[in-house]
């Protein structure tokens, strides 16, 4: 489904991605983990066409994404929940939801996302900046779902969210994955990532240094310590 082969990204003189290679299969849920500054967000931005690649290839369902304009990438079926949520504060909840949909309002799809996040239905006319952090995160995920994605890329979806809402967001991500949508999750909260994603990639200095299952990682304390800086095993 999604394949990255030897992807390089330079930002100014800095060589941020130094040959990232991994793939996501249809229906799979995978986590991309690593310490701050190893290139996780840049990898996601490169997939979405927001960071210019200096080498390598990214393809989705057989389409080379280098030949696709960045604004057309979501239409291929890749949804993106950026770090910090990326809610447009000057747009209403309804406008935020429908920003990427083409043509008329898709009320059937709206009903589906309101079923996932009922709280949004009560706030349709409110501006994006009046929502709490958790509600904004729900809106960011719902906005992706409106475009009927095959793969959703989430960049730290539980960052800065109160614990009660973290579990709800975690539940919804799992439910979305169960409905057949693939997930690529970047997460500082290792526990959340390992709970949601059976497959894990670890990044270090712009490359993927480890690929395995979450079960293997839980038992491999040396890897966890070396690449994630955790001194004890993450909780199951």
């Amino acid at each position: 489904m999604l394949e990255l082969r030897d992807v390089h990204v330079h930002i100014g003189k800095l060589h941020i991605l130094q040959g990232v290679t991994f793939d996501i299969k249809p229906g799979e849920s995978a986590a991309l983990l690593g310490r701050n500054g190893v290139g996780k967000t840049t990898t996601l931005r490169a997939i979405m066409g927001l960071a210019a690649r200096s080498g390598g290839k990214i393809s989705f369902d057989g389409t080379d994404l280098s030949s696709v304009a960045p604004h057309k990438i979501p239409r291929l079926g890749i949804g993106y929940v950026p770090q910090g949520r990326g809610i447009f504060p000057n747009l209403s909840v309804l406008e935020n939801l429908n920003i990427g949909t083409q043509g008329k309002r898709d009320t059937e799809r709206e009903d589906y996302v309101f079923d996932c996040f009922p709280r949004l239905k009560e706030r349709l006319k409110q501006s994006g900046n009046t929502l709490s952090g958790g509600e904004q995160q729900m809106l960011a995920i719902a906005r992706c779902l409106m475009m009927r994605p095959k793969l959703i890329i989430l960049d730290e979806p539980t960052e800065g969210i109160m614990p009660l809402l973290v579990s709800q967001i975690r539940r919804e991500i799992h439910r979305i994955n169960q409905s057949g949508v693939s997930i690529l999750l970047v997460e500082q909260n290792v526990e959340t990532a390992l709970k949601l994603c059976p497959r894990v990639f670890l990044m270090e200095k712009g490359v993927v240094v480890y690929s395995g299952t979450s079960g293997e990682l839980k038992t491999n304390t040396e890897i966890v310590h070396r690449y994630l800086g955790l001194s004890r095993k993450p909780a199951a």
């Binding site: 604004h71 504060p89 000057n90 747009l91 920003i99």
Partner: protein, 286 residues
């Protein structure tokens, strides 16, 4: 004295509505594209000149109300693609580029239209009694057209897909792109809409001003003052500030000369910059 005050206040109010159209274009281009558009006054001038040509070709002034904004929209789209797009992300360079654009527009108009200022007779002649004074009927029509265009612009911005995209890209281009918004098209459309608004202002204003290849030069500072007083990026604030400034200048002109009236506007702008740098109308921005 009261009659003069009333007359100049009304003139100021109506001129303010026209300036609001032009300043809105300036504000939307600055807010979205980070372009300090030195050529924006000349967009208004091009509107007045095209209104004159439209009258010569069709023999009907009203045709210009449709034709001129359309031509300006197309010109704006072409200019964005050829001049603005290559320097995107460099606001300092935009001053040089749009200054060059301003000179080119003025010289092209001087070559085709000529250097002699001309007048266009209002399509509706006559006066009517208003608050005890005889007032030009066309000026009231100009006010009506300006209010209608301002309302249409805000409806477009708030209730159309392109308007929503413009507000989204203005806030965060990358996220908007990742949601499927064609940001480059939005940039082209924004510049084109800004030019069309100024051009429409030109058609409305041509019968109450002179048509001159330097006609935009005096207007540009007023538009910048309106954008600053209204608050950078605050579109309703910009429109309100344009009306307020022109009304203020009209009132001052009833007992002092136009230079003093302009000094009053500059003093107001300085006071706003010192005491309320976010603009007089913070809170109305969307």
């Amino acid at each position: 004295m009261i009659d003069t005050l009333l007359l100049l206040s009304l003139n100021g109010l109506i001129w303010g509505l026209i300036i609001a159209l032009i300043a809105l274009g300036l504000s939307v281009i600055f807010g979205l594209l980070d372009i300090i558009n030195i050529a924006h006054g000349d967009f208004f001038m091009v509107g007045t000149v095209l209104a004159w040509f439209s009258l010569q070709v069709t023999g009907n002034y009203w045709a210009g109300f449709l034709l001129v904004p359309l031509i300006c929209f197309v010109l704006g789209a072409i200019m964005q693609r050829l001049v603005i797009q290559p320097i995107r992300g460099n606001p300092a360079l935009s001053i040089v580029a749009t200054f060059g654009l301003s000179l080119i527009l003025q010289e092209v108009v001087r070559m085709t239209f000529g250097a002699t200022p001309r007048r266009i007779l209002p399509p509706i002649q006559g006066t009517m009694s208003l608050f005890g004074i005889q007032y030009d009927i066309y000026r009231l029509y100009a006010a009506g057209f300006s209010i209608a265009a301002l309302a249409a612009f805000f409806l477009f911005l708030n209730y159309t897909k392109l308007g929503t995209w413009m507000r989204a890209v203005r806030h965060d281009r990358d996220t908007a792109t990742a949601m499927g918004v064609p940001a480059r098209l939005v940039y082209i459309m924004t510049f084109a809409v800004g030019f069309a608004l100024a051009g429409f202002g030109g058609v409305v204003a041509a019968p109450i001003t002179t048509v001159d290849f330097r006609g935009g030069v005096d207007l540009l500072p007023v538009c910048f003052i309106a954008v600053i007083v209204g608050g950078l990026g605050n579109l309703p604030g910009t429109a309100a500030a344009a009306v307020l400034l022109a009304l203020l200048e009209g009132i001052v002109q009833s007992f002092a000369n136009p230079t003093l009236a302009r000094i009053t506007s500059l003093l107001l702008m300085s006071a706003v910059l010192l005491l309320r740098p976010q603009g007089l109308f913070k809170g109305f921005a969307k």
